[in-house]
Every structure is written in C-alpha cells, then in structure tokens.
Symmetry: C2
Subunit: 372 residues, 2 copies
C-alpha cells in the first residue's frame, strides 16, 4: 500500500502555517487572553445591522450562497463607481490572493514583495512554485519605487504592495502610488492590498483606473468592518482579470451568512464612521501608552500601532513574550529592522487599560533579561 | 499597458461554471421558485441548536475562526473513533476537493471518475491540468471495479467515487467498497465522497481503516445537516495525508459561525434522526408522485430521487424545462443514459404538493412537443 503521489511542488513545501492563531495560543495557555489585540481584528465588532442580518440569515443557511454575490456586487459597484464586472467577491483577501497567485504564477515565475510584508501572500507564492524576491522597507514603508525596480530586474509577473502597510501601519498617498505605476514594468501585475484603507486618512485609497490592466486592488470585511471570522472580501480590477477568477475560484465558496452581513455592513455608513472614530481614539491611546513608557509609537493609518521598543528584534521579542505572559495577545513584525517593534491592535477601553497595566512590567522584565 | 501574464493552464481553461446557481436562475426569471428542490439542499434546515449557535456566533464574528477547528475536530474524532490528526476541516467538500486535487495532480497527471459524476471534481482536475478519464455507470451506479480497472490502465493518481451517488441516488454497501480496494492500483488515491451518507441505509458508510493511505473520505454539513450556505465539511484519512493539507489550505478560511453551527449540529443527534425520517418520507412521496405519473422512481440512499422519464435526455430536458416554467426548481443528470431522468430533491409537504401539481403538465407538454 503506497502513499499518495504528491506533486513536485507539494513534496518541496514545508508544512508551515502563515500564522499561529490566537485560539491555538489560548489552548496552549489554558486560559483566554485578557486583551485580544494581536490579530488586527476589530474588537468593536460588526455593525449591529450586520449582526442582525447574519442572525436572520442563520435559519436560511440550508441554501447555498449566491455564487455570483449579486446583491453585494451591486452595492459595491455603486459605492466604487464601477460595474459589477469589475468586482470579484471571495472568501477574504487570503482566499482571493490564493486564486490570484494561481492565475499568474507557475513554477519558477518570479514575484516581488517587501521583506516583512504579509506572509500569507508569500505562502501562496511558495505554494504555486513561485520564486519570491524581497526588497527592504524604506523608512518603515513598503516602497513602490524599490518594488517596481526589483520587478523590472527580475521580470516579475506579480508585485505585492500593501497600502496602508501591515505590520508597520505606514502608508502612502494613493496618488503617489498611481504616479509610481509608470515605473511598473510591462507584464507585471500589481496586487494592491488595501485591507486597512477604510480607517486611513482621506486620500490613501489609490485612485486607480479600474480598467487599468496593471493593478488589482483587494478589500476586506475582516478589518474595519469587523467581520474577520466571516471570510469575505473583494477585489477590484479590469473585467478580463476579474472574469479569469471564474476559471479557478470555488464558485459556491462564499458563506451565505457572510454575504448578508457584508451587504448590511456596507450600507451602515454611520456605524463605519463610528468605528473609524473609535480606531482613531484607540490609536491615540496606544501612542500615549508608548510614550508614557518612554517609547516611540509609529504613525498609523490602520487599526493597530507599531511601537518601537528602541532596541533589536530579540529585545522586542522579549517584550512581546512578557505581554503574552501577562495575558495580552499582541504580535510583532518578522523582519529586521521592523522587528524592533511590537504591533498592538486597537481595542476597547478595557483592552487599552489591560495593555497599559501590563506593558511596564513586560518592558522591565525584558530590560532585566537583556541588559544593554 | 500589457495584460497580466496568465499561466499556461489558465490560458487553456474555459470560463465555465460547474453549476448555475438557483439565485442566478431566480434573477433571470424575475421571481422566486415555488419549490426549491433542485440543489439537494436540505429544506428541513439545520438543527434549531445549530441555528441558535450560529445566531450567537454572529456577534463574535469580529474574531477569526479557529484555524485548527479544534473543538469540531474533537467532537468528530470521538464520533468516528479516530484522532484529530485523521481529520481536516475545510470550506465544504468543494473546497477540500480543490485542495486534494492540488496536492496530487500536476499537468498531465491522470485521474479517473464516472461519466456524469460530480462536475465540481472535474472542474478542479481541469483547473490543475489533470487529464480526466471517465468510465460509464454500471446499472446507474458508479462502479468501483470499472473505475479501478481504468485507474490501473491509465496509471491514475486519483480516483473519484461517490457513495451514495449524485445524481442517481444509488449506492453500494460500504463493505463492498472496502473489498474492492484490493483492485485499486498502487499509487492511486481513492477519494470517497460520502456527502449523502448520513441519510443512507445502515452499512453504506465504508468501514475504511482510517490509516489506510489509499483512501480519503469526504463528509459535509451541506446536505443532511442542512448547512450548505455555511461552507463546512471535513475529510478523514491517514495523518500524513491530512497534514499535507496544511501545505496548501487557507488556514483561516473556515467561517467562525459555520464552525459553531457544525459543532452544535453534530451534537444534536435527535434532530439528525428527525431529518432522516423526513427525508425517508419525502423520498417515498417523490416515488409515489413518479408512479402516479406512470414513471419509475430510482431507489435512493440520498436526499433526492432520480425519476426515470422513460425516454432520452432530450425528453427529460423538456420535462425539466416544463417544471422550471412552472416554478419548480429541479435538475437532471448530465450524461447518457442517466440523463433519461430528472433529479428532484426532498422537500417539505408544500414542496411536494407543488411538484405533484406541476409534474403532469410538464410531462404532457414534453410529450406534445416530442411525440414518440
């Protein structure tokens, strides 16, 4: 009885996981975290109308979801001033990135991203046999000029750029990104991940011509809309690229309850404004806590703040471990020199108070363990 | 500005959709169906406890779902007498089939299925460049001996067998399938799709040794559990094969609400029994309606009944069109000679009454249009 014959790519892949989830950590600890502010989830939750829509949809879940996400695409197209043919709805940006990589990357194809940028994108590129080239951040930002120059150098088929950036919270003005497109080499497709754009300053969303075949933009209901567990997001691009998703996507794969919730969330613009206000206030609070501890908070256009712990990655890791030990779930950047920071998501007043209470002790312990 | 450079496989793929969804048909009609009994959804709905669990989970959807589906796997492992390492949870059998095909099929690899069996499996095989060989049904059943002989002949890496079968509702005793494994050639992996097994006669589930590396079994919450729109299912196999899914799957891709609902559904065994009773009664009713119209219902181990319309595929298609025109959503097999049938899902009393009322007219019209 022989084993299954895996593909060459699969045989070469490690059994890695892009992230260890908070539930996994909670089981290892044996108790929940006091503050769950590590995965950039929105603790403020979805719109009450979205919750109501999802609750109402629960009894209808015996029906498959609409394979075309028609109603949601209608609403999105009105909002973005595009046609439904410019939109594909998928099971979150993770799912859409997987489909997109599959559409363009075959074994040996080159792809460019920033060192320390979203690891799930890298996971998909490796999973389809792509060869990933990484460029450094420039002043803690993913840098279009550096990315596009590398893409030209290696003949990349795909270039990843998040704006705003995760894990640093930094951003570019959208028009700067559009201006930089002149440097994107022919035949390279830019994936512009705008997961956090709804809580960024006015002008951060790139005013890309939706028919421009060089760019696909990704949006999600996981972050500011507070629906990470629902697995629903969308991409905006030229109709030809959008329709190519129909060749590979799981047509009935978007949860029916998620579709109902996303539609209601989108329509509740008052709640979105309210959440934006809460995020802005929590960013201020996180910055203040950093400063109270003698540390520098980085400016953020997202629902989290990177706090510069002032030394190297080993030190920041010790601080992070001290926070985890004190029941505060946070994360940190993977790559130097960004890994001098910890990354703390916005939270409720209680979350902020718990973080403020735990942070000095975590810093003290780290300084004791690692004297300068 | 050049177009994205798609992979060779993607360039060769048609933009086909495995199924046109009922919502798409409803929009084309401009009104809902009187009876939605075409997609083998469970009109009886999920367990009230599952609905309650999903409603409760709606406000928690700001959190990502557990990437390990730990609680659900615990419950499933107890139920199946296996360890959690023998189980992978995914976004429905469709999603799991996609991951599985990706794990083993590279361009040019051969795969075997039955002509007229589940088209979404074929979609995945084509999507990864596999070469599909089809064998005929034998007496309206997918036939292990024929499938395995073809697999040996073409050196298949993957063989698909649904038990019970969709679209015919036929089945084999599980022990017959296990006995037939001796004929499965070395290096071929059998995908045993047991989507409908919960409403099949005792003994239909194949008593496969879960550590046998030759077989992976797939189960779903979409059918008898009444949660098609939730996108959640699981596979049972040897730990090595199960862990390989971690190389390619969307780790955070299973909806949090779906996980909560599936766990509650699994625990409500009384409701499962109730639904089984309703399915059995509805199958009887469908069979009686067929006979009242002078037609033969096929025996069924599923939540639908194939009704032999007594002539060829064109005639059955005319009957189907007549039913659709009368606001009854049903489907039919794709391949001859199974396409002499229409396929009608179990339904409520109201669904059955609507079908019974519409069927004679649809048959009359078809006979008028296509005189023998």
């Amino acid at each position: 009885m022989t084993q299954p014959r895996y593909t060459q790519i699969v045989q070469s892949l490690p059994a890695t996981v892009p992230f260890v989830g908070p539930e996994t950590q909670i089981r290892a600890r044996g108790e929940p975290f006091k503050a769950r502010i590590g995965a950039n989830e929105s603790v403020f939750g979805p719109s009450p109308r979205a919750i109501e829509a999802m609750r109402d949809a629960a009894s209808e879940v015996w029906m498959y979801g609409d394979a075309e996400s028609y109603d949601l695409k209608q609403e999105l197209s009105a909002r973005h001033g595009v046609t439904p043919a410019h939109i594909v709805v998928g099971s979150g940006i993770d799912g859409l990135l997987g489909s997109l990589v599959r559409l363009v990357v075959e074994p040996g194809d080159t792809v460019v991203t920033s060192d320390g940028a979203y690891p799930t994108f890298n996971y998909h590129v490796a999973g389809f046999g792509g060869v990933l080239h990484k460029v450094p951040y420039v002043e803690d930002r993913e840098d279009p000029a550096t990315l596009f120059a590398k893409a030209a150098e290696v003949g990349a088929k795909l270039v990843y750029l998040a704006n705003p950036d995760n894990p640093m919270g930094s951003w570019h003005r959208g028009e700067e990104i559009v201006a930089a497109l002149d440097k994107l080499p022919d035949g390279a497709l830019l994936v512009l991940d705008e997961a956090y754009v709804e809580c960024a300053p006015e002008g951060t969303a790139a005013p890309v011509d939706v028919d421009d075949p060089r760019v696909i933009r990704m949006r999600t209901f996981s972050k500011v809309y507070g629906m990470a567990g629902a697995r629903i997001g969308y991409a905006l691009a030229a109709p030809e690229l959008i329709s190519s998703f129909n060749k590979v996507r799981d047509h009935f794969g978007v949860n029916r309850i998620a579709q109902a919730g996303a539609l209601a969330a989108l329509r509740d613009t008052a709640y979105l404004d309210e959440v934006r206000g809460k995020i802005a206030a929590s960013r201020e609070r996180l910055a203040a806590i950093a400063r109270e501890n003698g540390l520098e908070p980085l400016p953020s256009a997202t629902n989290f703040v990177a706090i510069d712990c002032g030394r190297d990655g080993a030190f920041a890791k010790a601080v992070l471990d001290g926070l985890i030990a004190r029941s505060i779930f946070v994360r940190m950047p993977f790559a130097a020199p960004q890994n001098r920071c910890i990354r703390v998501s916005c939270g409720t007043e209680a979350d902020m108070a718990a973080f403020a209470a735990a942070f000095p002790g975590a810093l003290d312990d780290a300084r004791t363990d690692q004297p300068e």
